[in-house]
């Protein structure tokens, strides 16, 4: 933690940490505690007075079927995004790991969606799936599928999942490829000498050996799907049709800024904060017992 050799105490270290501590207190700790405080208040319709109601806001959420639907929908959404983008990334990484020539070229061509903003990813996909103009509805129409994500909730969900997963493939690919390349060649060669073919080696050696990476990526992808996909949903569906793509973060925004239900929105924020804290703790526990080969 601290260096064995260090400078003596003076005013200097306080000056050095001051900017970060100041920003942290003003823009992080204070607003977060305000969120907790507001979650115990109910404001009247005009925002003139507010009443301290203890856990009533939470009680309302607990009794609200719509909130549970949103919760469940968020979990399904995150699971689909994680499975789709991690699966695709795993396959691509497994083949890229085999390729001797051109591996870096493939890497360059596969990583850049990381740099595309979520809302832009949403815009690109919503254009390709535009019911009247888009290239995919045109093709789907030929096989008799009528695509309109403005009306069909399931199709809207599929579209945001595809857009969210597409953007995350790059990240997962990089970590999977790095994990595979860090497996000692001798292990793989020994397996090959014992007669294990490529499929067998992947199933019995490579995949188990990269399982720490898989676990790490699961947490990262869950956090991504929970929080960073706001832009995609806002651009593609705005939570609709009929709330079929409203996830938790979107609901906080919608209830707070559009619905102006400050207490309810704050209570939802607090629940989200607990979720983030849990995920962060899980991630840190993983880092501590990181498997080394």
């Amino acid at each position: 933690m601290l260096k064995r050799v260090h400078f003596p105490a003076s005013a200097l270290p306080y000056l050095l940490v001051a900017p970060q501590i100041l920003i942290t207190v003003i823009f992080f700790i204070w607003p977060a505690s305000q969120a907790v405080y507001q979650s115990f208040l109910i404001e009247d319709a005009f925002g003139l007075s507010s009443e301290f109601v203890w856990f009533e806001n939470y009680q309302v959420l607990w009794d609200d079927d719509q909130y549970f639907d949103t919760f469940w929908r968020t979990i399904v959404f995150s699971a689909c995004v994680a499975v789709l983008s991690m699966g695709a990334a795993l396959i691509l990484a497994a083949f890229a790991d085999r390729v001797v020539r051109g591996a870096t070229a493939y890497r360059t061509l596969l990583i850049w969606p990381y740099a595309v903003a979520p809302v832009l990813a949403g815009a690109l996909w919503v254009f390709m799936f535009n019911p009247t103009l888009g290239i995919f509805p045109y093709m789907l129409d030929m096989v008799g599928i009528d695509w309109n994500h403005y009306l069909n909730g399931t199709q809207a969900m599929m579209l945001v999942i595809i857009a969210a997963a597409w953007k995350q493939i790059a990240y997962n690919f990089l970590f999977y490829l790095a994990a595979m390349q860090s497996i000692p060649r001798s292990v793989i060669e020994a397996a090959a000498i014992d007669g294990a073919g490529p499929m067998r080696r992947f199933k019995d050696f490579i995949f188990p050996l990269i399982s720490p990476t898989t676990f790490f990526l699961l947490v990262i992808n869950a956090v991504y799907a929970f929080f960073d996909t706001f832009g995609i949903i806002h651009a593609v569906t705005q939570g609709g049709p009929a709330n079929s793509t409203t996830i938790l973060v979107y609901k906080v925004f919608n209830d707070g800024f559009i619905g102006l239900d400050l207490g309810g929105s704050a209570a939802q924020s607090v629940i989200l904060m607990f979720l983030v804290i849990t995920m962060t703790v899980v991630q840190f526990r993983y880092v501590e017992r990181k498997v080394e080969y």
Binding site: P31, Q34, F95
Partner: protein, 283 residues
Amino acid sequence: MVENRPILGVISHLVLILGVVIVALPIWITFVASTHDAVRMTQVPIPLLPGSHFIENFKETLFGTGLSSSAGAPVWRMLLNSMTMALMIAFGKISISLISAFAIVYFKFPFRMGFFWMIFITLMLPVEVRILPTFEVVANLGMLNSYWGLSIPLIASATATFMFRQVFLTIPDEMLESARIDGAGPMRFFWDILIPLSRTNIAALFVILFIYGWNQYLWPLLITTDSDMTTIVVSIKQMLEAAEQSPKWNIIMMTALLAMIPPVFVVVAMQRLFVQGLTETDK
């Protein structure tokens, strides 16, 4: 490669090429859309090969009226806003994390651990979950519609501080010992030894933070009500809404292309630093 299996080699390349095509498809469609005129982009099926209106669309988007009736500021102004915000976030975050990590690693002072935990907590509070109260704070400080309001609330972050702390801890103690024997004070040591030694880490972090800053969406969306302060990423959403009345898809897609070129360029051009930054900050 462990053994020679030519067929599997061919399959590997085929799968990878297919992957690249799927990953690149949205960008190709965007690029193609930005090279046609508005009329062509309303005819089904939309073209899959580039047209001849690229330069024209480029000029109209960047300097002309474009969709300005709906989106407000001209695109070059929004690009400038995005660039300013991304650079302020990257420089700000790196500077404050460097000095606070320096204080925490190299000084022994009361409340050192307390400060460390205060910084650590921010790791758990993404802007999305404390959005309303943070908005109120920024509004009360009069920082709406300003570059300060756009960047400062996103600047404090534990990840960067952690990363520099990690880097400093790997620097041998003898460095400090010899520096002190030679009579160097803390700030001299910081500028002449720590900064040069962590140069690549700073560069790697810069790449990651630039992309992070450029791609911010919810925060700029909320705090910029003045269209002159809108960032390019936020404007895409407004254009999509406008598209429902007058579908100028060629201009919208050209704007999208302009919005993604700077961060994509940074990732591709500084690939090694990008990969290093990604793996270092997320651990």
